[in-house]
Amino acid sequence: MITALWIMVALAALLGMILGYASIRFRVEGNPLAEKIDAVLPQTQCGQCGYPGCKPYADAIAKGEADINLCPPGGEEGIHKLAELLGVEFKPFGENAQPKPKAVAFIDEQTCIGCTLCIQACPVDAIAGAAKQMHTIIASECTGCELCVPPCPVDCISMLPIEEQLTNWKWRYPVYALRQTS
């Protein structure tokens, strides 16, 4: 009885040492959690999560201060990815944070007065222009964050949804399901 107990204790100690050694010897120098989370986020820098950009939101999630369902541009898939990364349950979007179709901002150049307010608001410097000069969006760099829309004093910025074109068309998931409806 006592012998068996001792054997078990010795075995546990030995295995514990092996595990401890392995954790030091084979430690993977991974990026900190916040960076992994940041890599999943869509980088629109839109602030819809209530944080001033994707990185702060990632930090907040990493610290456990923020929920994972606050990023509408990431879509449901983004929540799934975060849930998987953090090992938590999927959480659907709240009422006030529903994803919208992808869009890019467009400046009506007839109305623009060149006030630079939108340039200051753009988180990715995707608006070209100068004081009293007409501004324009660099569409390829616009993340569709909509941050430039409210500051515009003449409401000349609109969000144009990205339409499906030949160049970005995708094959659909096959729809012939296993279930027969008839």
Binding site: W171, P174, L178, R179, Q180
Partner: protein, 343 residues
């Protein structure tokens, strides 16, 4: 919009399954010839239970009944279970085996195509563990047993478990040739002495060796028709032959010869009908060879040293477990890639 290709070759799942069923016919016919028609009753019971369970599970899982019931896969599972249990068994034996196989081993894992284990073998394993007594009463081949039951008497027994007055079950049945071999070896007899017992025929058990040959014939048809891959039966039977051959050469008094292993128990039906279930076997050529060798090795070990007389079922289940690993390991080289480019 439909994607190309717009033409297909008309070979569907149900036709494949149907051909496998055809291939079982010679074995079943010889079974009836040597052991009487009780097996047909057993098959009918197992198949009915399998189809009923399949329908129930499809209903519960909200799947369409018609395409899945008509794919013959449940029917095949039922047949295989009936063929692996004693024919003169109480009616609930094949029914429980089939129902468990279909409900648990198949549908709880996601239905056709998603089950990791061969349902028929899981059904068999459950029966032999739960009802070891009932599973050992195998019918004696005609002409060996002391008395013979008529079909009516057999039916009566199957459904009521009552024998005609004055008859003993032990007088009608016997243990399988493999079982007898194992028991008698324990009692100190040599292999050649044991094989002189009346239940043994030329190669293995009297009658059962012919049934095994019938299954082998059906299996050869499946090979020729390219319904099953050749690697699995070849690797399995080859390994079994080689191992038993080596042991038999070293010590013929304690180890049965290769052909005895081939034609006893579930070796033939296993090689051609059970291991070759595509859903639960590897998909690569090399993987199939590894799978066959592993199953052959385990079968021989269980038969020779294990606690059960036959090892095909457990060997199959154990190898089923290794399939994902084998598949990952044996991914073939693709066109335009050298071996070392691969992961």
């Amino acid at each position: 919009m439909l994607s190309s290709p717009f033409i297909t070759r008309p070979l569907s799942v149900d036709r494949i399954m149907l051909r496998v069923l055809y291939a079982l016919v010679p074995g079943i016919a010889l079974y009836v010839w040597y052991f009487g028609p009780a097996i047909l009753v057993s098959i009918a019971l197992a198949v009915t239970a399998a189809l009923a369970t399949e329908a129930l599970m499809l209903k519960l899982r909200d799947r369409p009944l018609r395409p899945f019931l008509s794919d013959y896969s449940a029917l095949l599972t039922g047949c295989l279970i009936a063929l692996s249990i004693p024919p003169l068994a109480p009616w609930w034996l094949p029914v429980i085996g089939s129902a468990f196989a279909i409900a648990v081993a198949k549908h709880l894992y996601g239905g056709l195509g998603s089950n990791p284990f061969n349902p028929a073998m899981i059904g068999y394993a459950v029966l032999i563990i739960s009802f070891p007594h009932e599973m050992t009463h195998w019918l004696s081949p005609q002409g060996v047993g002391q008395s013979v039951l008529s079909l009516g008497q057999q039916l009566h027994y199957i459904f009521t478990s009552a024998l005609p007055a004055g008859m003993q079950l032990d007088a009608l049945t016997m243990s399988t040739p493999l079982d007898t071999l194992k028991t008698q070896l324990h009692l100190g007899m040599t292999v050649s002495d044991i094989r002189d017992l009346p239940i043994y025929g030329r190669l293995a058990g009297k009658g059962s060796e012919m049934v095994a040959a019938g299954f082998a014939l059906g299996g050869l048809y499946l090979l020729v028709a390219r319904i099953i891959p050749w690697q699995l039966p070849l690797a399995f039977l080859g390994t079994l032959f080689a191992l038993s051959g080596v042991f038999n050469l070293i010590d013929p008094t304690h180890y049965a010869p290769p052909l005895f292993h081939w034609f006893s128990g579930a070796a033939m039906i296993g090689a051609f009908f059970i291991l070759t279930d595509p859903i639960t076997s590897p998909t690569t050529a090399r993987g199939r060879i590894i799978f066959g060798i592993g199953a052959g090795l385990l079968t021989f070990l269980i038969r020779t040293y294990g606690g059960f007389p036959d090892g095909v079922a457990f060997a199959t289940i154990l190898m089923n477990m290794c399939v994902p690993l084998i598949d990952t390991w044996t991914q073939p080289r693709i066109f335009g890639k050298k071996k070392e480019d691969k992961r």
